[in-house]
């Protein structure tokens, strides 16, 4: 079963709960919540051509390679162009390998649409967070900074002491929270409720926020599929067991 799709974040807005929604979601109270606004992120999801099918026999594991977005032929390298050609697809801007449990018979060249998420209650959305450049400890780690008064100067956003030195430690502990590059990292938002899907317009609405700026590419997995995959990997010892 295909349980993943690629997409693009279009932005955040809100939609109003309909009588139909109330029946679909447990978190809504049918008596009081009709007409209430809920925050959603609008994602343009798919259609994604399947560019490659990885099988147990051939690759040692199962996965699908999907493409999303348009890329000019001029800007595509020739080796990659051949890869797209094999799938009969136009060059895609965003190509990623996604989960596939090996069931069903997805074929190269077929298109994955939002339909695959229709039955899903929740999804995990993976994206790159907004890049914040070199940030100080107040922004990056939520430090409170120093006092503003009592004869202080230049201490308002300072990190304070780095810890005790010499006597016990051999210096600053590794991993000490300091200023540095912040953002532009891969983040997975787990268990976001699927509010609506529109296969015609390739639109997916999820409850709440999604990492990244507007226009950013995201990978969307059905939560159950992701969890099943993780469980399988744990069983094989590829991933550490949950403590």
């Amino acid at each position: 079963m295909v349980a993943s799709i690629l997409g693009r974040k279009l932005g955040q807005t809100q939609v109003y709960v309909t009588a139909e929604d109330v029946g679909n979601f447990q978190f809504l109270n049918p008596k009081t919540d009709v007409g209430r606004a809920i925050p959603v992120t609008v994602i343009e999801a798919g259609p994604c051509p399947i560019l490659q099918v990885k099988t147990k026999e051939k690759d040692g594991y199962t996965a699908l390679q999907l493409g999303f977005g348009k890329k000019k032929v001029k800007r595509t390298t020739k080796p990659l162009l051949g890869h797209f050609k094999k799938a009969g697809a136009d060059p895609a801007q965003f190509v990623r390998e996604v989960l596939w449990d090996g069931s069903g018979e997805p074929k190269v060249g077929e298109k994955v649409t939002v339909e695959v998420l229709k039955g899903a209650k929740t999804v995990d959305v993976i994206g790159l967070t907004k890049g914040r450049g070199f940030s100080g400890v107040v922004r990056r780690w939520g430090f409170h900074g120093g006092p503003a008064t009592h004869g202080q100067s230049d201490r308002e956003r300072a990190p304070g002491s780095l810890g005790r030195q010499h006597s016990i430690s051999q210096g600053v502990y590794p991993g000490k929270k300091m200023g540095g590059h912040y953002g532009h990292e891969r983040v997975t938002m787990q268990n976001l409720r699927v509010i609506r899907t529109d296969a015609e317009k390739n639109i997916l609405l999820v409850h709440g926020g999604v990492p990244g700026p507007v226009g950013a590419f995201v990978i969307i997995n059905q939560s159950e599929a992701y969890n099943a995959e993780l469980e399988a990997k744990r069983a094989m010892g590829q991933v550490k067991k949950k403590k």
Binding site: L10, Y16, K31, T32, V34, V42, I203
Partner: protein
Amino acid sequence: MNRLDEFEKTYHRKKQLAFDIGDTVDVHVKITEGDKERIQIFSGTVIKKRGGGLRETFTVRRIVQGEGVERIFPRHSPKVVDLIIKKKGKVRRAKLYYLRDRVGKATKVKEKVWERPGLEGSPAEAVAAKATPAAAPVAAAAPAAAAAAPKKG
């Protein structure tokens, strides 16, 4: 138009609420009491509009027993059933916060008397009136043009 606006449009209310800042309005709100639904009317002056698209809201202010009460309504909420303009207000700014500091008669916004709903010659009426005679001059102009054309030849 970007894709988000396009998406939001599909959720906009079918019948747009046409009103301006300073108008005195009756907002019809759907209220659920237990299992029963009824319509409550909140009437007052529109003092503010905020946001855009699906997230647009407006604030209505009224005086209840000498105490100012303000209520914020989402413009596209299905709970806002209807909005009826009682009076068009004559105002010169977009946010009427100055009304909050006023008491008594000063809380009134001047009315655009000439735009009073139902009044003859008010813009709503004028638009309707324009629509019909507008067709006539065009028709009148057409024969004139036709008459002018052969002269040229």
